[in-house]
Amino acid sequence: AISSAFSEVVVERTEMSLSSDDGYQTQTTRVQRELEQLIIDILRLWRREQQVMSLRRSTHISYIKSGILTLPGMFTVLDSSRPWLCYWMLHSLCLMDAFSSLEKDTLSRCVQFLSHCQSSSGGFGGGPQQLPHLAPSYAAVAALITIGTQEAYEVINRKSMYEYLLRMKTPAGGFSVHNEGEVDIRGTYTAIATAAMLNILTPELVKGVPEWIARCQRYDGGMAGEPEMESHGGYAYCGLASLFILRRTDLIDLPLLLKWTVNRQMRVEGGFQGRTNKLVDGCYSFWVGAIFPMLHELLTNPTEVAEEEKVQCSTSSSSSNSPRSSSPYHQSSWLMNAEELQKYVLVCCQHYTGGLIDKPEKYPDFYHTCYCLSGLSIAQNNPFGVKCLGSETNKLKPTSPVFNLEISKLRAAEAYFSKQPHPDQISVP
């Protein structure tokens, strides 16, 4: 019954008209309307052929498996992002519950490889013998946690990682992504999320960070890569997730961020754009989509978030049901249109050869595969009851909006790392 109701919603949308250009064309409306026409044609075709909205799981699994051991020469451009490749692939497989389709020793090989990316001075680089960098540090830790074995956890040198993170801190409150590297909000998120996952957050590490992040909120409510820059979905995610971890979302205007975020959803396409007046992209299904569960948590419980909720955004209904305050925000789902988002990913973002994509007519890559699936997971796994467009068999495992780790993997890591010795300071409550 649920599936057919959703299908009706989709069918209606095939009769949609293009967004208005107010009779005043510019480059922005030209490219937008061109894309909308393409999407409408795809939906019309889909409807005519009575296609089922199914996640073609096996094709995506094959796509990932074909790349996990070796990749062709054109991947040289990602030679400084190999931990990312591991994370994108492993996380995608994990969400699809497909680890069992890997060869027995693959996970162990991933662990060993990632250990070769770790720098003796702390942190992980984009490959062996590369300078440690905050982005592959996050990716390596996330990949190891996704593998989730004792062997994987033990690879990480928490002490040197902590020292490395401290060295990346700048006086103004931002983080350099590598020694004498650029300072932007990705650096902040990757540093804070990594520290949180490993239980090495300290007041010393965190000092000045929330205030720097708050400077990145813009007049339209979104957040930028650095102060004064344009609001952007990826950076808004980094900013909010960091503040969420640090319990300092009080420093930004949440209602204004909410307004900006809901306006990122595209009328015709159903997916999210990254910036106002730009095109939809499947990866924002996660970057923008994941903002909603966090906002939901913050607006439902505007007072101090409880300890156990620090690292969770649970699928169980228990925490969300209890009215903790007199907040008028008492919603039974995220404030995004989850059905439309699922439609965009399932109908427009699956490539016929396997793998997921930015938008129709683009080619698949492991990054978009990861973030389209992660966004789909967020949209499906509503705390008040799972709602899968198309069929229940499309259901992916739930992922944490804060860390983008599969929930049980995150819990296991939390259980493990919380028992590990903490840097010699009081932990942030």
């Binding site: 020469g73 991947f75 400084s80 004498e180 590297g181 007049y219 609001s231 249109n337 698949p364 990054y367």
Partner: protein
């Protein structure tokens, strides 16, 4: 060169499974872009200049994953680069080696970092270096490392004289390139160089009044120059009113208008409201209605709040259906406000 281009095309066609990595993470074209044949030091193994160096192989471990099938040239170049890194040799040949590595993979941040170390050590001509970066930028304008490198050079040179023209040029091919705006904004702030910036944003908005990056930059310019005084808010809102009149469904313009409204301590609500009501009488602009809700919510009278509720209902059920959940939430907020009053 023709042979390499053909090779690259073959890779493209045969690679439906794998494709260009997203600009979100690393942006270089699929092809190795060509280093002039006479300038490359490859093959290193037979190059007398490098005979003293023992190449250092990549240590992926015995059974790696995500192994990339590098070209021979890439492997060898990286072997020599690793050797030089280990020695920490900041020499002219090391600098040239960095160029080769960057040519092969412009996202290799280790190479960029080491390059800067070499430049400092050798007290190199940074103006020449700026030329080098500019050339690469025009080929791959969406690369983080390259723009950060540029920022450092400009900082060391303490000379922004080329920057406004250069960024304007790159914006000609992509008027919304985030890195470019970021660099320009940094130059403005770092050197307190704001002359002509307002006019610059105006010219971009004349080309495309939906360019959100231009609006964002304009906000920054005003903030750092005149500030949002009563007069400035008046002139800026007139400017935006004109753009909205041309295209009432332009979210960028409405966001900017709301930005002005929010900085406004002078309570010029009336003018903003009058304009918005005017727009609504002519077009059912979602953003106009949305802004009107914001204005009405600032007021305390029940009649205004009730009207806001009606607008939310209309938006949720008809004009902005995709955001129905949001509009229901806002409606609830307003009702709460009415109850509280």
């Amino acid at each position: 060169r023709k042979r390499r281009r053909r090779e690259a095309q073959r890779t493209q066609r045969g690679s439906l499974y794998f494709c260009v990595p997203p600009s979100c993470v690393a942006s270089t074209p699929m092809t190795d872009f060509e280093v002039q044949e006479d300038k490359t030091m490859y093959p290193f193994s037979t190059n007398p200049e490098w005979s003293d160096i023992t190449p250092l192989k990549q240590d992926d471990g015995p059974n790696p994953v995500v192994s990339i099938l590098y070209s021979k040239r890439f492997s060898e170049s990286m072997d020599y680069f690793r050797a030089i890194l280990q020695k920490d040799e900041r020499s002219p040949r090391a600098l040239r080696l960095c160029s080769e590595i960057i040519d092969l993979n412009s996202a290799n941040y280790t190479a960029w970092h080491f390059r800067r170390a070499c430049l400092k050590e050798l007290d190199s001509n940074l103006t020449e270096e700026l030329k080098y970066v500019s050339e690469i930028t025009l080929q791959t304008p969406k690369n983080y490392q390259l723009w950060f490198h540029r920022r450092k050079l400009v900082e060391w040179l303490n000379d922004p004289s080329l920057e406004l023209e250069f960024t304007a040029k790159v914006l000609e091919s992509d008027s919304k390139n985030y890195h470019v705006w970021s660099h320009r904004s940094w130059v403005n702030q770092h050197f307190n160089l704001w002359d002509g910036e307002l006019a610059f944003t105006k010219s971009l908005l004349e080309q495309d009044l939906r360019n959100n990056s231009a609006f964002n930059h304009r906000y920054t310019v005003v903030k750092h120059t005149t500030g949002f005084t009563r007069e400035v808010i008046q002139s800026e809102s007139r400017f935006v009113f004109e753009l909205i009149t041309k295209a009432p469904n332009n979210e960028s313009a409405w966001n900017y208008l709301r930005g002005l409204f929010d900085t406004n301590e002078f309570s010029q609500h009336d003018e903003f409201q009058r304009f918005t009501e005017d727009v609504i009488s002519g077009t059912k602009s979602v953003h106009a209605y949305s802004f009107l809700v914001d204005i009405l919510m600032r007021r305390k009278q029940n009649s205004d709040l009730l009207r806001a509720v009606e607008i939310c209902k209309n938006l949720g059920s008809e004009l902005d259906e995709i955001r129905v959940k949001y509009w229901k939430y806002v409606e609830k907020l307003i009702r709460q406000q009415i109850q509280d009053e």
